[in-house]
Amino acid sequence: MTTNRKGFTVSLLLVVMMSMLLAACGGNDNTAGRPSPGSTGETGMEAGKPVTLEFWTIALQPTFNDYFNELIAKYESSHPGVKVEWKDYPYDAISQRLLTSTASGKSPDVVNLNTEFASQLGSKGALLNLNEYLTDEEAKSYFEGIYNSTVFDGKAYALPWYTGTEVLFMNTKLVKEAGLDPANPPQTREELVEWARQVHEKTGVAGYAQQLVSKLFPIDGIPILNEDKTAAAFNTPEAEAMIAQMRDLMAEGVVLKEDAEFSKQIQYFSGEQVAFQLSGPTFINFIKKSAPDVYKNTIAVTLPTGKANLRLSNSMDLVVPQKSKNPEQAVEFAAFITNAENQTAFSKVANTLPSSKASIEDPFFTQSDGSLEAEAKVASSQSLDKATDYMVGVPNAGDINSALARGLQEILMNGADIKETLNAVEKEVNQILNQDS
């Protein structure tokens, strides 16, 4: 009797497990199907049915409520039948929200993501290929380096939106103490290192702090992946030399021996423990509050370039999830938000940089009133034509970034052997590229 009951229980459990297995395999069919690409510019009325577009942004409410409410109202009035629902989430929450809403079959239509996350989702096939919807003219209206950062196999998975490039902030008090002239700032990474060394020797303060991330490779012209993005390409003598130099600079105290996140970098610059800071213009807002005296002594100049002679942008994009129920209207709306006119207007209210070529002609980006904010803006906007996102077309960018960052930490913080670590990370990156999941 007991045996029978046990047998029955085991069978029942097996049946339940098998049914769940089938459910897990079949529960995620992409039934949306590919819509036929249509010309943009039509109204959102499809067979007379009104359309509601769900538009998600990252951390823009309530600061920019006025700008977006006006923009959405303008769009709705020129597109009768289309209604836009704008939702805003914190940076850390948007990926979770996107996952849960996708899982429950309620995908948003237009989502604001950063390039790394957009690449990660794009390479997994979760986003719409926008090249099927955009005209050539529309695609070419963005800076090429930024637009291409989410292009894989000729498929563009995101429209660039607001962006930022790094500039060099300099504590003029410390620089002058070291006998250097802030009016003739360093132009290259080598010169910056020399300046940092001199600051360290004369004042005891370190040159700068930085985060150990994968962009250190492309700055020096070391590609992360090969041409067709099928294998790692960073395990080279040049990479070894670059990392060895970084290790020596940390040992000397010229660069802080730390994997310093942005918040840490703010602390170091505010506390005058470093003389330089390499970051986007938003950095100003933080030191203005945390260290007004340091803010007074700070100037912003164009970022010295590395061997690759390029500057890296850090962009926010708009994507259309593959499961959006209104793909055509969604792409049209994303193109509207990111067109030159609207990007210029947004840059003016948000103090960001636009990713559309035409915007940069506006006097707002070429004239400075002498304030630190304006200097940083002009310095960074003038380098947009050279800007590229460092994860250009890298599939599974998030995974590859983590692997490279971990490897750099192993070498620079934990003293691991450069060559051995690069070999191990290369193997890991190739595994990431070869796996389907």
Binding site: V16, M17, M20, L21, A23, A24, C25, G26, G27, N28, D29, N30, S95, Q96, L98, L99, T102, A103, Q120, L121, K124, G125, A126, K257, E258, D259, Q267, G271, Q273, P321, Q322, N396, G398, D399, S402, A405, R406, G407, Q409, E410, M413, N414, G415, A416, A424, E428, Q435, D436, S437
Partner: protein, 293 residues
């Protein structure tokens, strides 16, 4: 008699039902559902395929996962330390010295403080220019600043210390409850036989606390293997893989990189490991305690 037992067990189930319902929905079901998921490449956002045991074979070839398992096992070293110190603390706060209630409350404060707050406070204390470095430099123990959380040789142990610091009060309270259940006449009898304070602890207190020690050790081992909050907030597993624990790695694979199928497989492996460790602890602690009926 039989009826009485039946109505008693019905009442017991009725009281347990709400808790069990939540456990079933939020704990048991995800664990069971994780089994079929671990055999797929489920990622929420793309089509799901059955991959058989691929995730498991991949797991045992995944260098980072093996490191994370090792780090989690190292983390278990915190368990005996926590237990010993919290037993001693419980014995101290069980005495009738004036102001003892204040100490009980003070030791318990870290337990009810949010881990995020605790982690942030420790990150400031342990920062390059933090209080810890300042004091150690002042008294001459250190000759230069140490980046406690950015140095591979110290980061994991610092995290273990924070876990211990936060958990001590919790286990102290559990042991205190145990101590107060030990009949006073046992101590008196031992004293009559000439036992000193140390002998009382070794021959009376510890044997009678065994069930509590067993319970605390088991949950402490589970907590140590599954440690997440402090590691994720303070180091995210870095520098390199120095503090990468299994829970952090599973979180990164699942919720940051959307490899839920693979993350489920890793979760199952870790669950089996935790279960095995728990069984081991049970095996080692089978006797002792006070028979209250």
């Amino acid at each position: 008699m039989y009826k009485a037992i039946r109505s008693e067990s019905f009442a017991a189930w009725a009281f347990m039902a709400p808790g069990l319902l939540f456990l079933a929905i939020f704990t048991f079901w995800p664990i069971i559902y994780g089994i079929p998921l671990s055999l797929t490449d489920y990622s929420v956002i793309t089509e799901t395929h059955f991959v058989g045991l691929d995730n498991f074979t991949r797991a045992f070839q995944d260098h980072n996962f093996l490191i994370s398992l090792w780090n989690s096992l190292v983390y278990v070293l915190v368990v005996p330390v926590i237990q010993i110190i919290s037993i001693l603390m419980a014995i101290l706060v069980n005495s009738r010295i004036p102001g003892v209630k204040m100490f009980r409350a003070a030791y318990y404060i870290p337990v009810v403080t949010s881990m995020v707050a605790v982690a942030l406070i420790w990150s400031w204390l342990l920062g390059n220019n933090g209080v810890v470095n300042y004091l150690l430099l002042k008294v001459g123990i250190l000759s230069e600043q140490v980046s406690w959380l950015s140095t591979s040789s110290t980061a994991l142990y610092v995290l273990m210390f924070i876990t211990m610091w936060k958990g001590l009060g919790y286990y102290m309270m559990l042991y205190l409850a145990g101590l107060q259940g030990i009949p006073a006449d046992l101590y008196e009898a031992a004293r009559v036989d000439g036992a000193g304070p140390l002998r009382l602890i070794i021959h009376v207190t510890l044997p009678l606390l065994r069930p509590h020690i067993l319970f605390c050790t088991v949950i402490s081992v589970m907590g140590a293997v599954r440690v997440f909050d402090e590691v994720y907030i303070l180091t995210k597993g870095g520098p390199g893989t120095s503090t990468l624990t299994s829970s952090v790695y599973i979180f990164q694979k699942g919720l940051e990189q959307f490899n839920f199928g693979y993350a489920s497989a890793l979760g199952l492996i870790v669950s089996v490991m935790v279960a095995a460790l728990s069984v081991l602890v049970f095996r080692l602690n089978r006797r002792g305690g006070v028979n209250t009926y």
